[in-house]
């Protein structure tokens, strides 16, 4: 698309997009570091996740400020309007992803190696899956590609299936040996957090699709794994 007649408008939209991608990169790092701190306990890793979360929150605030300014001074329309709305929604999802990752790192600290390594493999696996989802959806945003976004949207079903089977696995361990209930509860929350991060990725995918096409995807039509029966 060609540039605006007012060049500063184009620059402001580009700066907004750049901030968002930086925020996305940080959120991705947080997921990876948080999951690593679960399987390979390491105090500095945990601290770095906490520190990155502060950075992510600050970026969200900065993006909100940029958007307020853009809306007030530029009154964006059509695709520009969708760019700005998308940035607002995506920044919120990324902030939530940061919080959920921080919570995983916290729980890793609480576990402090007090769980069986084999059982923790599931966190690593799920972490890899959702981190790939986030990476893919950020790529879709960066290239404004609605097809890529759609693929992420559809692939959330796999994350949900991961979660369901991992949930049963952890539950089995807890039933077999009640001494693992404490650590098992933490692990279940971590898995739930990762599953929630997957949901935020699908939110972002929906927003990217809207940004590019102007059409809203209906969550009701998204392929979903069967509900977990507890």
């Amino acid at each position: 698309m060609s540039d605006h007649i007012v060049r500063a408008f184009t620059e402001e939209l580009e700066a907004l997009s750049a901030d968002l991608l930086r925020m996305g990169g940080l959120a991705e790092t947080m997921i990876n570091d948080a999951c690593l701190s679960v399987t390979a306990p390491n105090a500095t890793l945990g601290a770095s996740v906490m520190a990155t979360d502060i950075e992510v929150d600050a970026l969200e605030a900065a993006i909100e400020k940029r958007i307020t300014r853009l809306l007030a001074l530029r009154q964006p329309l059509a695709r520009d309007l969708r760019e700005v709305l998308a940035a607002l929604k995506i920044s919120h999802d990324l902030e939530r992803i940061g919080d959920l990752s921080k919570n995983i790192a916290k729980r890793a600290g609480a576990l402090d190696g007090g769980a069986d390594g084999a059982v923790l493999k599931g966190v690593e696996r799920m972490g890899r899956a959702v981190s790939a989802q986030l990476q893919a959806v950020l790529d879709a945003y960066a290239s404004r590609n609605s097809d890529e976004a759609l693929r992420v949207w559809e692939a959330d079903e796999d994350v949900d299936q991961h979660y369901n089977s991992y949930f049963r696995e952890v539950l089995t361990y807890m039933m077999e040996d009640p001494r693992t209930i404490g650590s098992g509860a933490h692990i279940l929350f971590m898995a739930k957090n990762l599953e929630r991060i997957g949901d935020h990725c699908t939110n972002i995918a929906e927003v990217v699709h809207y940004l590019v096409t102007g059409e809203q995807l209906s969550s009701a039509e998204r392929p979903k794994a069967p509900e977990l029966e507890v």
Binding site: H4, I5, L77, E215
Partner: protein, 268 residues
């Protein structure tokens, strides 16, 4: 998305409600120069339709076809049909003066007659014989000024000249003058471009009230104004209708890349 030179893109749902003005394959020439190229569109009743586009795109020319204002321009020629309630306005049997009482017009610069406020409004009803006596004429004047939101401000000085009012008041006076002859369609050619934001807001509020009764077509250079007051928007470019559709869709997700570029400030 392809370039649609042949046919205008449409955005969103087709216009709702009964059709008031049905324009079919309209061409306009100024001497040898063609200004409008084969534009067809239906304009619904009791709603506001906005024409947008860069200067020289033909939106004002097209607007002026609806009440044959182009007749007054030397060398101007209109082809095609503009049908209002089943009658082509260009039919030789149509009296342009009567037509213009049914299709009123408000211009960019407020242009009150150099007469009293009262006579500005009373002029039309008098020449069209709409009032039998003074009392009835008084009623029309009060009613028109009230509907234009000006009555409270001028009721104590109806005898003072209309040109002594502020710009915004003058424009509302012109709108009152247009509605005094019971028109069916009101054409507005950039009615707010000479007004400050407060006066503009008053006119926009008035337009919103008037659409309960009239078919309103407004040409505006302000995209925000088109978005605020209209239910349908038509985008013109180089004498062609590029896209016509419901206003909300036009401003959030236009179908044509040219519309997109224009409303986001990428050319114009």
């Amino acid at each position: 998305m392809s370039e649609t030179d042949e046919q205008a893109s449409t955005s969103g749902a087709p216009p709702k409600g009964p059709v008031k003005v049905d324009c079919r394959s309209v061409d306009v020439f100024y001497n040898d120069k063609q200004a409008i190229f084969d534009i067809s569109m239906v304009i619904p009743d009791q709603s506001v339709t906005a024409f947008i586009g860069p200067s020289g795109c033909g939106k004002s020319t097209y607007l002026r076809c609806i009440n044959r204002m182009n007749d007054t321009i030397e060398g101007a020629r209109v082809e095609g049909e503009i049908v209002i309630d089943g009658v082509d306005v260009n039919d030789p049997a149509v009296d342009p003066v009567l037509l213009r009482s049914r299709v009123g017009m408000v211009f960019q610069k407020p242009n009150p007659f150099p007469k009293s406020i009262y006579d500005n409004i009373a002029y039309g009803p008098r020449i069209h014989g709409l009032a039998r006596d003074r009392a009835e004429l008084d009623g029309i004047v009060e009613d028109s000024l009230t509907r234009a939101g000006l009555w409270e401000e001028v009721k104590d000085r109806l005898a003072s000249p209309g040109t002594g009012l502020s710009g915004g008041q003058q424009q509302r006076l012109c709108i009152a003058r247009a509605i005094a002859v019971n028109p069916e369609v009101i054409l507005m050619d950039e009615p707010c471009s000479a007004l400050d934001p407060i006066a503009t807001a008053r006119i926009e509020e008035l337009i919103d009230d008037l659409r309960q009764r009239f078919c309103i077509v407004i040409v505006t250079h302000s995209m925000q104004q088109a978005a605020r007051v209209s239910q349908q928007t038509a985008f013109f470019h180089l004498g062609k209708l590029i896209e016509y559709g419901d206003t909300e869709t036009m401003f959030t997700n236009p179908a044509n890349p040219k519309t997109q570029d224009y409303i986001t400030g990428r050319f114009g």
